[in-house]
């Protein structure tokens, strides 16, 4: 990792002996202590480190849950109930893990929207951004498979609906679904492999996080002005103690929020149906995914055979079925974010200096909330229309509005440097 000022010195002979063979002390010193960080970061920059801490909480609580969990269709549901009733502190660990998943997505979604608002995805941070999207995808796969493990009704039917998405693929779809299931329905082989992969993927995420941080430390954090660091002495402060203490403070606030759900509303994010053991012969009347999937679920369901967007992209229904179009759109809604660094033509990063983009950013944020709201309700009446127009706007924003605004907009003048933006602001106010 570059950018580290490594003037590490130690008087300890042990430290120096190790340092000579494995320069880990100077590495940590340059990356976590001296590491120059823009001096003007606001609290939205807390969410990256928060996400890292929630990942650790999830891994620790997950490993301990696995010590009492049995991945078998006959035993899984009861083993989870045993964790809740008989295992010492089992209820606490499970509620931490359940609500931790929601906290992880809350923190990561804020982190992503921070990046969208302040243009953190722009050169030279494109790969940093793309690794982040891959982390999001890995998180979604992990969360989906984890939700299947308690083997409740929502576990079973969520797994059935989501794995059936792949049957939309022409020709090989049914074989892929059979490969995923290891049978002809979601059953014991499916539960076993989901457990195996649910245990593996968090460590893949850890690896991706390491790459994410490596790419971050190449060019350092973006900041609210979007102006690059010009003079390390003027524009930055060392990461420790300034940002370690700020991150600790933010962590305290988040843990209070987290603990509220663990202790006072542990099932707020869940579904009562998942406390009924999976029954392959009875579908619950209303299947809904977890809240963090709802916007994507709304996009999936928006594609009915009479949806005008579907009619256009399928050339009047000839190219593909509405089901396949919905599946493609759902995956595309995330994958299209990989192209964002090239779709955005504006050289100015921060929305602070981009009035037009700022307006559309907030419209987009509201659009995502509407998609989430529609995704949680049955697809009836006017909700179908709202879901379809919100789906249209989601893609229209990213593919059309972002590039066009980048070309047409006249940004406000940027400050000369980070330091100038900090020191001149109070004077201007006086």
């Amino acid at each position: 990792m570059s950018g580290g000022t490594s003037n590490f010195q130690s008087n300890s002979r042990v430290v120096n002996w190790i340092e000579h063979r494995l320069p880990i002390f100077s590495f940590l010193d340059s990356q976590l202590h001296q590491y120059p960080t823009p001096k003007n970061l606001n609290y939205f920059w807390n969410f990256g480190s928060l996400a890292g801490i929630v990942l650790v909480i999830m891994i620790v609580s997950g490993i301990t849950l696995a010590m009492s969990y049995t991945p078998h269709t006959d035993l899984a549901f009861n083993s989870v109930e045993r964790i809740m009733r008989d295992v010492n502190s089992g209820w606490l660990i499970r509620y931490i893990h359940m609500n931790g998943a929601s906290m992880f997505f809350i923190v990561v979604y804020i982190h992503i929207f921070r990046g969208l608002y302040y243009g953190s995805y722009k050169a030279p941070r494109e790969i940093l951004w793309m690794i982040g999207i891959f982390i999001l995808l890995a998180m979604m796969a992990t969360a989906f498979m984890g939700y299947v493990l308690p083997w409740g009704q929502m576990s079973f039917w969520g797994a059935t609906v989501i794995t059936n998405l792949f049957s939309a693929i022409p020709l090989v779809g049914d074989y892929i679904v059979q490969l995923l299931w290891g049978g002809f329905v979601v059953d014991n082989p499916t539960l076993n492999r989901f457990f195996s992969l649910h245990y593996l993927l968090p460590f893949v995420i850890v690896g991706l996080v390491f790459l994410h941080l490596w790419a971050l430390h190449m060019h350092h954090s973006n900041n609210p002005t979007g102006v690059e660091i010009k003079d390390e002495k003027q524009d930055t402060i060392p990461f420790h103690p300034y940002y370690t203490i700020k991150d600790m403070y933010g962590l305290g606030i988040m843990l209070i929020f987290f603990a509220f759900f663990i202790f006072f509303a542990p099932n707020y994010f869940g579904h009562p149906d998942n406390y009924i053991m999976a029954d392959p012969l009875v579908t619950p009347p209303h299947i809904v995914p977890e809240w963090y999937f709802l916007p994507f679920y709304a996009i999936l369901r928006a594609f009915t055979s009479d949806y005008w967007v579907y009619q256009i992209i399928s050339l009047g229904g000839t190219l593909m079925s509405a089901k396949l179009a919905g599946v493609i759109a759902m995956f595309a809604s995330i994958l299209v974010l990989l192209l964002l660094p090239w779709l955005d033509r504006s050289r100015v990063r921060s929305a602070k200096y981009r009035p037009l983009y700022r307006f559309f950013f907030w419209v987009f944020a509201i659009d995502c909330v509407i998609l989430g709201w529609v995704g949680g309700l049955p697809p009836e009446g006017v909700l179908v229309t709202i879901g379809q127009w919100s789906t249209f706007w989601y893609f229209f924003h990213i593919i059309i509005i972002v590039p066009v605004v980048g070309i047409l907009e006249r940004p406000k003048p940027l400050p000369d440097s980070i330091a100038a933006s900090v020191t001149s602001a109070p004077q201007a106010a006086e």
Binding site: W157, T160, V161, T163, N164, L165, Q178, L179, L180, W181, G182, G183, F184, V185, D187, P189, R193, P280, L281, V282, T283, P285, H286, I287, R301, T304, S305, S321, A322, K323, G326, P379, E380
Partner: protein
């Protein structure tokens, strides 16, 4: 002279080296693919899963207008003793009205017995309509509550997001009162 000789020798050596590199890469790639295959194939249905035998069902107790659900390969199979009105409704449909055109004739062996896999072809939910109090959709057959697909009295998709009719499994009537599915 010597320069030319060494030049051509270099070219010779390069093509020979290229050949070695590419053949090594090709053998390596095929070998890797062969080695990876068992690790993917282990996810396919195992021998005991495939061996799940066919299911024999006694249908003598099913009255006209009644349905039962039996399990075959872990999936629900709907067996319906259809009424004459249902048969007439199923047979009189214009094929042009169907998203997945199929005559009722092609879906049954005996018109009074409709036997099909009760898994919605959209995303795999179990349609309602087996019990007398269930919603049966706009066409008097089955209705999938998940995303609103309507099936008619022949189990054909009529309205909603599902692309296909409810599939008919292989079956045979072993006697007047028993049917062997699978």
């Amino acid at each position: 002279m010597s320069e030319t000789a060494s030049g051509s020798a270099e070219i010779d050596e390069q093509t020979r080296r290229d050949f070695l590199i590419w053949s090594t890469v090709a053998v390596g790639a095929v070998g890797t693919a062969l080695a990876v295959w068992p690790f993917i194939d282990q996810m396919n249905p195992a021998a005991d899963t495939l061996a799940l035998a066919s299911t024999e069902v006694d249908i003598s107790q099913i009255e006209v207008g009644q349905s039962i659900t039996v399990i075959w390969r872990g999936k629900p199979v709907f067996i319906r003793h259809r009424t004459q009105e249902e048969i007439n409704a199923a047979e009189s449909v214009d094929l042009a009205d169907l998203p997945d055109p199929q005559t009722d004739d092609a879906r049954v062996q005996k018109p009074e017995w409709l036997i099909m896999v009760g898994v919605c072809t959209h995303l795999g939910c179990i349609p309602l309509g087996q019990k007398s109090g269930d919603p049966k959709g706009d066409f008097g057959g089955w209705f999938c509550p998940c995303h609103g697909s309507h099936y008619d009295t022949s189990g054909r998709i009529r309205k909603g997001p599902a692309p296909n009719n409810l599939p008919v499994p292989g079956y045979e009537f072993t006697s007047d009162s028993t049917v062997l599915i699978g």
